[in-house]
């Protein structure tokens, strides 16, 4: 909490819980000196739903559909982490084909998440045409996910020991068609987000996170890769089929840009990861081994096995937003999960808000808040009760959005 002294000329602006630039409940307390932000203090805990508690009263198979409902966008990520944690705890190995199918689904979701983020970022700085453009092209990958799994969101693909739906050879043409579609459109995306002068004005040198700060604050994912930190679970500790695939850290300096860690480089990293994901899916489709998709097709036997199992396990993966962890503990003779703990990537990235907001203007709040791709539904695992005093003025989302759009206009007119 920010303390105020009597001689202080700064004032506080709480933004949230209903809500600054996000579509989810979350709160940041800003300390302002005129237009300039001098301090930012995030207050999570407004979206606590007690999912872990619910999970601890269900058997491991019932928790799989629950785990994917933690987040609407990265449902595959949570399913994957949860099943990996339970597999680890119970000593069950997924089949190799299941590993490849999991990788394909994870990468498709990364494409979906990053394209969606690009639209949100464009909306925050007042480019709604780009929002509609990116969300229109995102439909294609959602159609593909529906074609493979049967669902547009919350795919119900995972099970302990494998996956529930196969990707047979007959599906390959449709996958290839979608990948080509994105490859063809990618140049346009890059022209819009990296080439457009007005977007560059709003993103270049805004919300800077230096490499030192990124390392100190333990940020994860594209947020810190934009600052030049080589950190990616897919390479550092390969899971699923990533060990067999050819991939490298996506950092701006690989593409001839500087590792500045501003909003521009975060956009760059996310866009380049879309290309990387397309390449990874192609590799997976080519190398997929011929095997069963599930190591234990008899689910009644699996339930029995999980009841007898004792141990603890960890699922650690690179979500589109960065590294995330699930921890699960099983107790012998007890059907329900003994313990379930989730740590999503936004929890780490939240700490990087403070240096990014420092010295920026109020109108930059929406885009900086959006640049870590915050997912409060994933993150809020604890409730923090805060008693705050002092004068405050609050901005609604519409007011903030208006300020942001106005800033773009002014920049274009050259009056700023």
């Amino acid at each position: 909490m920010i303390e105020m002294s009597e001689e202080d000329t700064t004032y506080q602006v709480p933004i949230g819980p209903i809500h600054p630039a996000l579509k989810e409940p979350f709160m940041i307390n800003f300390k302002l000196d005129g237009e300039t932000i001098v301090d930012a203090d995030p207050h999570p805990g407004m979206n606590h739903r007690g999912i872990e508690f619910m999970g601890m009263h269900r058997n491991p198979l019932k928790v799989i559909p629950l785990s994917e409902r933690i987040c609407g966008i990265c449902s595959i990520v949570h399913q994957h982490m949860y099943t990996t944690a339970v597999e680890h705890a119970a000593g069950i190995e997924p089949t190799n084909r299941a590993r490849y199918i999991r990788t394909i689904m994870c990468e498709l979701e990364r494409v979906h998440s990053h394209v969606l983020w690009a639209g949100v970022a464009a909306h925050e700085i007042g480019f709604d045409t780009h929002l509609h453009f990116t969300w229109k092209i995102r439909e294609k990958v959602m159609d593909l996910l529906e074609y493979i799994s049967g669902n547009r969101v919350n795919y119900s693909m995972w099970t302990v020991g494998g996956v529930r739906r196969d990707i047979p050879e007959s599906m390959h043409p449709k996958i290839e068609e979608t990948l080509t579609y994105y490859e063809e459109l990618y140049q346009k995306l890059e022209d819009i987000f990296l080439g457009d002068p007005s977007i560059r004005l709003r993103t270049k040198n805004i919300g800077i996170l230096t490499k030192k700060e990124a390392l100190e604050l333990c940020g994860v994912g594209p947020t810190v890769r934009a600052s030049g930190v080589k950190k990616d679970v897919r390479i550092d500790q390969p899971y699923a089929a990533y060990g067999d695939l050819d991939l490298d850290y996506v950092i701006p300096s690989r593409y001839g840009y500087e590792n500045t860690g501003d909003v521009f480089s975060k956009t760059l990293v996310r866009l380049k990861e879309v290309v990387q994901s397309i390449g990874l899916i192609r590799q997976c489709v080519d190398q997929m081994p011929d095997e069963d998709i599930d190591s234990e097709p008899k689910k009644a036997v699996l339930l029995n096995k999980l009841k007898k199992a004792e141990g603890e396990g960890i699922g650690r993966i690179e979500a589109p937003r960065g590294e995330a962890i699930h921890y699960a503990r099983l107790k012998e003779g007890v059907e329900e999960l003994d313990c379930w703990k989730i740590r999503a990537s936004t929890y780490n990235n939240l700490t990087t808000y403070a240096p990014m907001f420092m010295g920026e203007q109020i109108a930059d709040i929406p885009i900086i808040a959006a640049c870590i791709d915050p997912c409060i539904g994933c993150m809020d695992r604890a409730e923090i009760v805060d008693v705050s005093t002092g004068k405050s003025k609050s901005y609604s989302h519409d007011e903030l959005h208006k300020l942001s759009v106005e800033k773009t206009k002014k920049l274009l007119e050259g009056s700023l």
Binding site: R58, N59, L61, K62, V63, I64, P65, L66, K136, E139, D143, E146, Y147, G150, N151, N154, S156, T159, R164, R165, K299, A300, L303
Partner: protein
């Protein structure tokens, strides 16, 4: 000046819309009147988007082959299934179902099947068509 923006705009006017105009092209002013028109055959419905193979729609439950082993109740995440002890069969509430299909996977007799039916919205969750084997 014929910029690329103008070109794109003209192209967009001529291309097919990305959204499917389901059930009718423009939202009618009166939904009930429109529904009556559709029933009497005066208004045609635009077909919905083609559903993918292995779509997860409303469950089909075969009462006769069910042996009452209660395994499906063990894996149903939303507890949409209830056991009827006197009949030794299950009752399925479609309104609660999340269409994960775990019951279909675990059933030893394959009594459950995910169908392609998706027009199941309603105002009463206990309506006849929304409770299987009531």
């Amino acid at each position: 000046m014929p910029t690329s923006t103008v070109f794109t705009l003209i192209k967009q006017l001529l291309t097919r819309k990305a959204t499917n105009p389901f059930p009718v092209k423009y939202t009618p002013k009166n939904m009930h009147a429109a529904a009556e028109l559709i029933e009497s055959g005066k208004l045609e419905i635009n077909p919905p988007v083609e559903i993918p193979p292995d779509y997860r729609g409303k469950l089909k439950y075969d009462v006769d082959c069910c042996i009452g082993c209660k395994l499906c109740l063990k894996v149903c995440p939303s507890e949409a299934l209830a056991f009827k002890p006197e009949e030794k069969k299950v009752k399925h509430y479609v309104a609660r179902c999340t269409f994960c299909g775990q019951c279909a996977n675990i059933c030893p007799k394959s009594c459950f099947e995910l169908t392609e039916e998706f027009l199941i919205a309603g105002t009463d969750k206990y309506a006849d068509e929304l409770v299987l084997n009531p």
